[in-house]
Every structure is written in structure tokens, then in C-alpha cells.
């Protein structure tokens, strides 16, 4: 009986030792924050806005029922119509990642990836460096059924005591063959700062 208890105690101690995280070096005033925490440092476009837009758009698109049978989508640049340096590609990358993770859609090489894709195909087919049986053949790239495009705009108003920023992000899914917009949604965000 005692032996069994001792064994259990040893296992518990070992297990608690296993749960111990790696040692921390230094770090008096440094801490890791919650990436989902609401960020209100300034009223410029921030991480929470990016996450809010990406989540809202992904949910809306996934629930629309338009993406039947994992269609191929090509993501275009989101036009930045504001005067703020907003990396809109980060928004579309988040949307793309979430849709990909849920297996709702497949994505064709977009504008930025296309050059690398073409270069790689040329290298494999024209350089003579690769074993023929392993070379990816040209002419087999999958064309997109839909293209995803959008824009972000803002209205900024200031007074001596207030700064009000209104962002509007809109996204649409267009059928490449018919040219019809099959889905569209927008997300509005208002941020006000009192000085």
C-alpha cells in the first residue's frame, strides 16, 4: 500500500516537474500580451481592427453558401483609399488563412506570388537541371473561378478636443466567367479619441 502511494507521489512530482515551463531569463518590464486583446493605444488603424475585419469577413463569406465544392479563388489587392499606411495585404492574408484552415476554398497564386510561380515553372522546365519525371509540367495551373477584391476608406474629423476616425472595409467575390458579384459585405469601424 505504502509502496503504491510512494509510486503515485513520485509520478505526481515528476509530472508536475514536466509541466514546468522553460526558465525565464531577465525580463523585468517585458511581458507577452494576449494577441486578441483589444488594442487602444492610438486611434490609428491597429491590430484589433485588422482582426475584427478579417473575422467578420471570413464568417460572412463562409456562411454565405457560395463557396460550394471548395472553388478556386484568386485574391486581388484591397485598394487603400485612406491616407494611412495600412497594409491591406495582411487583412486578405488573414481571411485567406482562415478560409484555407476550414477547407472552404482553395486559392490560386495571386498577383504577388505569380512571378515566383512562373519563375519556378520556367526553371524546372527550361534549365535542364531537374529529373524529367519530377518536373511540374506547364499548362496545368488551375484558373480561378472567383476573384476576391475590395477597398478600405476612411473619414477623419478633428476638433480641438476630439478626433473621430470612421473606417469602411468592403469586400466582394466576383464570378470570373459571368462577371457577377456573387457575394459582398462590409465592415464599419468608428474610433473616437478625446484629448
Amino acid at each position: 500500500m505504502l509502496a503504491r502511494f510512494s509510486f503515485l507521489a513520485v509520478v505526481a512530482v515528476l509530472a508536475s516537474g514536466c509541466a514546468n515551463t522553460s526558465p525565464v531569463i531577465g525580463g523585468k518590464n517585458i511581458s507577452y500580451g494576449d494577441t486578441k486583446a483589444v488594442e487602444l493605444v492610438t486611434n490609428e488603424f491597429g491590430s484589433t481592427d485588422l482582426q475584427m475585419i478579417a473575422e467578420s469577413m471570413t464568417r460572412s463569406l463562409a456562411q454565405s453558401g457560395i463557396l460550394q465544392g471548395r472553388p478556386v479563388v484568386q485574391v486581388y489587392d484591397v485598394k487603400n483609399k485612406t491616407s494611412e499606411y495600412i497594409d491591406t495585404r495582411e487583412i486578405t492574408t488573414s481571411i485567406k488563412t482562415q478560409l484555407m484552415k476550414t477547407g472552404t476554398a482553395r486559392f490560386a497564386s495571386d498577383n504577388t506570388d505569380m512571378q515566383s510561380q512562373v519563375d519556378q515553372l520556367k526553371l524546372q522546365n527550361q534549365s535542364g537541371l531537374y529529373k524529367k519525371s519530377t518536373v511540374s509540367k506547364t499548362g496545368n495551373m488551375i484558373a480561378a473561378k472567383y476573384r476576391l477584391e475590395g477597398s478600405i476608406s476612411s473619414i477623419v474629423k478633428r476638433s480641438a478636443d476630439y478626433k473621430d476616425v470612421f473606417y469602411k472595409f468592403s469586400l466582394q467575390l466576383v464570378d470570373v466567367e459571368s462577371g457577377l458579384a456573387e457575394w459582398m459585405d462590409e465592415k464599419e469601424i468608428r474610433k473616437t479619441t478625446e484629448r
Binding site: 490609428e44 484591397v78 487603400n80 485612406t82 491616407s83 499606411y85 495600412i86 495585404r89 484629448r195
Partner: protein, 456 residues
């Protein structure tokens, strides 16, 4: 006898202090350095700079000037190394401001210390221009990714400055009200008010945002295929310099056809002249001492524009004249910085003069000799801060055009010696920078400028 010894000692101390680096005449030093630069003797200018900064503890200004001189020499690696040191100093300033803005503002607003005795921390526009100039160095060797980093740093720095100044101006208004100082720079009789009220100064949104810096950001982002970031760059530039066709066109062309395979989208950047000097002017101002208004001479800074380089609005490219669009004037930015700082300078100078006046009055009653010494010491040490980045280019003008791959001739106007520079267009997007001082033309990238010769 004792008082005579005391006076002698005090006068000796004052004389020694006036020779101290804190009381150096930056204007005189840089006039000589810039003369060397304008005559094309960059090595001579660098030697002078080193001679004037012999101490091991180099300040921000030294690295500002050194970076620009090495850039004129064509030593881009050396220039970047010097500017990295300057950038580190600005980064530390930025961190101090972000970490505890209130503490920074109360230290800066101290009424006890004369501005010229403080460690030089650079004007806001200098901090913004530093990373812009660093981006130009990188673009001279077609390093667009490196330039993107510097440009991003510029946006972040601008945001820190904007927030700090908002808080500072509010705090200063409250402080002026509390101290009862209502003088404005327009009330200073004898001060060249019109220089700070000029349309190109008042027309600026603030002292630190540069249309050129944002236009360059737009160009770099566009070259890297990031149109979503290029658009705000061009848009911000257009907001800072309204009614400038080049800026509006850049925004319109963003969705236009791509650059053909055998041509380059070339941005020619011509930076000419030198940043203005700061001088000190003494003006009598009535200040309240012990309930009486006493007319006291006080020192204030004034801006002295540089006249070393003739202005021009066109350059020749392969024999055809191309219009240049002015996107930046350091003189206007410097004046705007002074215009915005003047209420604070007036407040600090006045409060310091009041406390000095009271001390001197009390000393005069107890020990007239000591009062006299304090008066002499004040006369020597009081003066406006004349330090500023002087080798920084004054005007920045640009021309954007499509050139076929290969060598092209860029010619400068005859007033500048008619220099011909041969440049090579070989990249899809390319930035060619020319630096003009006096009638000397310096091309930042020796590989880009294949030959530089004077027309017969």
C-alpha cells in the same frame, strides 16, 4: 581686496566657459565646413568636421553632418554607418518619449537651463529627413527592401512626434498662463516676424512632415508591388503639397499600365543648397521683476537662409529639358519649426530672465560686486541655440520619367556649371539622386553616374 580676487576668479571662469564646447559657435564652424563642400573639397570639409569634434563623446549633430559629407564623397557605406549612429540616438530619444512623455516634457520645459546648453537632440524635421536620406542612400544601390525599412521607420517616427507635440503645445499653453507670460513672437519688436509668417511657412501642415518623404515612400512601395501602401504615400504627399500635378498624377498612374520590359520608371531626385543657419538676435523685452517692469535684452533665434546655390527649375535629360517639381524646402521647415517653438522659447527665456533679474537685484543690495559678476556671466552665457544640421540639402526637387534601358545624359543648368552626368537605367524602378552645392554636383552612386564632366 577679497572682492577683487572673487571678481577675477569669476571672470576667469566665465572666459573659460565661453571657450567650452557648450558655448561653441556652431554657425562659424559650419560656415567653414560648407565652404569646403561648396568648392568641391569634401575631404577638406570632413577634416574640418573632425577637428571641430575632437572629443570622444560625439553628438547627434556630428553624425548628421558626417553622413551627409560622406554621401557627397560617394562613400555610401561610410555615410550609412554615420547615420546609423545618428539613428540610434534618435531611436533612444523616441523610446524615452514613448516610455514617459510627461517626464520628457517636464525635463525639456525646464526653465533653469539655457537651450544651447542642452545635449542636442535634433529638430523634428531633421529626424524625419535622416531616415529619408538613409533611404536615398539605399536606393542609390537599388536596395528597395532596405529603403522600405527606413521609410516605415519614418512613418512610425512621425506618429511619435505628432503625439508628443500635441501634448507639448497643450502643456505649454497651460504653463504660459500659469507664469503670466503672454508675449508672442509677433510682439517682439525688431524680430523679423515676416520670415516666420511667409506663405510657404504658414502653408506647411507642420514642421516635420515632408511631401518628398511621403512621395518617395509611395515610389518605393509601388516598386515593390505594394499598391495598397503606395496610394497613401502619394495621397499624403498631395495633402501636404496641394495642387501639385506630379503628386496627383502618381496616384492616377498607380493603376495604369506596367513598365515595359525594356524601360525603367526613373525618379530623378535633385537636392540642392544647404539647410539654413540659426543665428541669435538680442531684443529688449519688458519683464516683471519684483513688481516693476524692467526692459531687459533677451536672445532669440533667427533663421538665416543659405545663399550658396542658385535656384533652378529644369534639368536636361538626353538634351530635352524636363521640369522639376519642388517637394521639400528645409528652409521653410526650419522656419516652421522655429515658429512652432517660439512660444516655448519666449516662455523659457522670459522666466529665466525673471529669476536671474531677481537674484541679481538681491545680490546688488547685499554684495554689488557679486551682482556685477552675475550680470557679466549672464551676458556671456545667454544666447539663443544656433545648432542645427547644416549640410542637409535645402531644396529637394524631382522629375519622374520612363527611360529605355542604357546610358542617358543628365545635364544641369549653366548657372551651376553645366555639369553633365551620365546615368545608367537598368532596373524596372530606379532612383537617381544628384546633390548640388554651389556649382558642384555630386552623384550619390559612382556606379550610376558613369562619368561626370563639365561642359566646355
Amino acid at each position: 581686496m577679497a572682492s577683487r580676487v572673487f571678481i577675477s576668479l569669476a571672470l576667469a571662469a566665465v572666459t573659460l566657459l565661453s571657450g567650452c564646447s557648450m558655448f561653441r559657435s556652431y554657425d562659424t564652424e559650419l560656415q567653414a565646413t560648407n565652404q569646403q563642400l561648396a568648392s568641391g573639397n569634401v575631404d577638406g570639409a570632413l577634416t574640418l568636421l573632425e577637428k571641430n569634434n575632437s572629443s570622444d563623446d560625439k553628438d547627434l549633430l556630428y553624425y548628421f553632418e558626417k553622413g551627409e559629407l560622406l554621401r557627397a564623397k560617394g562613400d555610401l557605406a561610410g555615410s550609412q554607418a554615420a547615420w546609423h549612429r545618428a539613428d540610434l540616438a534618435v531611436y533612444k530619444w523616441e523610446e524615452a518619449v514613448k516610455f514617459d512623455t510627461e517626464r520628457y516634457l517636464s525635463q525639456f520645459g525646464s526653465f533653469l537651463v539655457n537651450d544651447k546648453v542642452r545635449r542636442y537632440e535634433g529638430y523634428d524635421y531633421e529626424k524625419v529627413m535622416l531616415t529619408t536620406q538613409m533611404a536615398l542612400n539605399l536606393l542609390a544601390v537599388n536596395d528597395f527592401d532596405g529603403a522600405r525599412t527606413e521609410i516605415k521607420k519614418t512613418h512610425e517616427r512621425e506618429a511619435v512626434i505628432a503625439e508628443l507635440r500635441d501634448k507639448e503645445y497643450l502643456k505649454r499653453e497651460n504653463e504660459a498662463e500659469r507664469q503670466g507670460v503672454a508675449t508672442q513672437f509677433k510682439d517682439l519688436r525688431g524680430y523679423p516676424v515676416e520670415s516666420l509668417d511667409a506663405p510657404d511657412v504658414v502653408g506647411l501642415k507642420n514642421s516635420y512632415q515632408s511631401a518628398f518623404s511621403h512621395y518617395l515612400a509611395g515610389f518605393v512601395y509601388e516598386a515593390l508591388g505594394e499598391k495598397d501602401l503606395a496610394a497613401p504615400g502619394y495621397r499624403k504627399a498631395a495633402e501636404l503639397r496641394p495642387n501639385t500635378p506630379l503628386l496627383e498624377q502618381a496616384l492616377l498612374d498607380l493603376d495604369a499600365s506596367a513598365v515595359a520590359a525594356d524601360e525603367s520608371d526613373v525618379l530623378i531626385v535633385v537636392q540642392s543648397g544647404l539647410a539654413p543657419a540659426r543665428d541669435s538676435i538680442r531684443l529688449p523685452l519688458p519683464i516683471p521683476i519684483d513688481g516693476h517692469w524692467v526692459i531687459t535684452p533677451l536672445s532669440f533665434p533667427v533663421i538665416k537662409p543659405d545663399t550658396s546655390t542658385a535656384t533652378f527649375a529644369q534639368i536636361g535629360v538626353d538634351g530635352r529639358q524636363q521640369n522639376l517639381t519642388a517637394l521639400n524646402s528645409t528652409t521653410a521647415m526650419s522656419r516652421r519649426a522655429l515658429r512652432d517653438d517660439m512660444p516655448g522659447i519666449i516662455l523659457r527665456t522670459t522666466v529665466r530672465a525673471i529669476s536671474r533679474g531677481v537674484t541679481q537685484k538681491n545680490l546688488n543690495q547685499t554684495n554689488p560686486m557679486a551682482g556685477l559678476v552675475l550680470g557679466i556671466a549672464s551676458a556671456v552665457t545667454e544666447g539663443a541655440d544656433t545648432r542645427t544640421w547644416r549640410t542637409l540639402p535645402d531644396m529637394t526637387q524631382v522629375a519622374r520619367l520612363r527611360l529605355k534601358h542604357g546610358e542617358h545624359q543628365v545635364s544641369l543648368p549653366n548657372a551651376l556649371g553645366g555639369t553633365l552626368v551620365t546615368v545608367k537605367a537598368e532596373q524596372r524602378h530606379q532612383v537617381i539622386t544628384l546633390r548640388v552645392v554651389g556649382n558642384q554636383v555630386f552623384a550619390s552612386n559612382p556606379a550610376q553616374a558613369v562619368a561626370s564632366l563639365k561642359q566646355p
